[in-house]
Symmetry: C2
C-alpha cells in the first residue's frame, strides 16, 4: 500500500526538504546530537539521499551554513538606523528564523564549514558596526568592530538562552519587551 500523499519524484524538492529539516535539527540540537537518520525522517526521505545530494553529513551542514549566509546577505531596503538595527536584531532572536542565529554558534569540527561560519559572523559584525560609521579602513576601526561583536554576542547569547528555555523572564519575553533594552544597548555601544 502506498501512502496517500506519495510525492512525485523530484530531486530539487527533496534536496530542499532535506536542507530545511537539517537546519532545524542542527540549530536546535547541534551537529553531533543530530543524526542523519533524524534529518531524513523529518524530511520524509531515505537516509541514503543525504549522501547522494550533499556527499556527507558535513556537506549538508556546510550547505545549511551557506544558505544562512545567502539570507543574511540580502541588501537593506532602508537606510539602517539604530532603531531599525535593534528591531531587526530582536526579530532574529525571537522570530522563527532564530535557526539562523543558532546555526552560527554550531560547529561540526570540519574546517571548511567552520570557515564559512566565521565569514558569516564577520560580515554580520561589519554590517552592524557600519551603522556606527565603521568602514573597512576607518581610523580606530577595531574599537567599533569590537563593540559590534559584543552586540552580536549579546544577540547570539540571548537566542541560545531562549532556545534552551526556562530562564525567565528572558525566555518568554516578546519582541516588544526586548526592543527597549536592546536599543539601549545599541545606543551605548554603537553611537
Amino acid at each position: 500500500m502506498m501512502t496517500s500523499t506519495a510525492r512525485p519524484r523530484d530531486a530539487a524538492q527533496t534536496r530542499t526538504e532535506l536542507l530545511r529539516a537539517a537546519r532545524v535539527r542542527f540549530a536546535r540540537d547541534g551537529y553531533r546530537s543530530t543524526t542523519v537518520r533524524d534529518i531524513a525522517a523529518d524530511a520524509g526521505v531515505n537516509v541514503a539521499l543525504i549522501s547522494r545530494y550533499f556527499d556527507s553529513k558535513d556537506g549538508l551542514f556546510e550547505a545549511c551554513l551557506a544558505s544562512v549566509g545567502e539570507e543574511l546577505k540580502r541588501p537593506e531596503t532602508e537606510a539602517p538606523t539604530l532603531e531599525r538595527v535593534a528591531r531587526s536584531l530582536v526579530r532574529q532572536v525571537t522570530g522563527f528564523s532564530s535557526d539562523q542565529m543558532l546555526l552560527l554558534l554550531r560547529t561540526s569540527g570540519d574546517e571548511r564549514a567552520d570557515g564559512i561560519r566565521r565569514r558569516i559572523l564577520r560580515t554580520f559584525a561589519e554590517k552592524t558596526a557600519s551603522v556606527a560609521g565603521w568602514t573597512p579602513d576607518s581610523p580606530d576601526g577595531d574599537r567599533l568592530l569590537l563593540r559590534a561583536e559584543i552586540v552580536l554576542s549579546a544577540a547570539l547569547g540571548m537566542t541560545q538562552l531562549r532556545s534552551t528555555g526556562g530562564l525567565e523572564p528572558l525566555s518568554s519575553a516578546t519582541e516588544e519587551e526586548l526592543v527597549e533594552p536592546v536599543l539601549a544597548l545599541l545606543r551605548e555601544l554603537l553611537r
Copy 2:
C-alpha cells in the same frame, strides 16, 4: 613494566582528576562530542572508573555543573559595584575559568542536569541584577531581571565566540580592552 610515575591508589584524587578533565572537555567540545574514553585518557585513568564514581556519563556531566554552581556561589568579599561586576564578568569571559561560562551553555538532554544548569543561570542573573537594586520582590523586578539576563547573554555569547576563535578583534582582545565596553554596557542596562 610500570610507569615511572604510577600514582598511588586514591579514590578521591581520581575522582577529582576525572572531574577536572571532564569540565575542560565538556566546556570546549560539548556533551555529545566528548567521549568517556577521551575524558579517562585526559585524566590518566581507566574508563570504567567513570561509571564507578559518577554512575554514567550523564552523572559526570551533572557533577561538572554542580561544581560550577559551588564555585559561583562563593560570597562576595567586597560590596558589588558596577565596576567590580564588569571586571568580574570580563575575567570570567577571558580567564581560564571560561570553562564555567561555556558549561552553562552545554546541554546533555538529561532532565536533572538541565535543571541544575537552569538554577545556576537564574542565580547568576539574580546576582547580577542585585547590583542594580533588584531584590526577590522589588516592584518592576522583572524589568531589571530581564536586563541582567541580557548582560549574562552578552557574557556567555562573548565567551562562546572567543572559544570557537577567529572573530577578530574579539577573540584576541585582552581583559583590559574588554572592560571598557562591558562597563559601558552595564552602566546602560543596570543603572
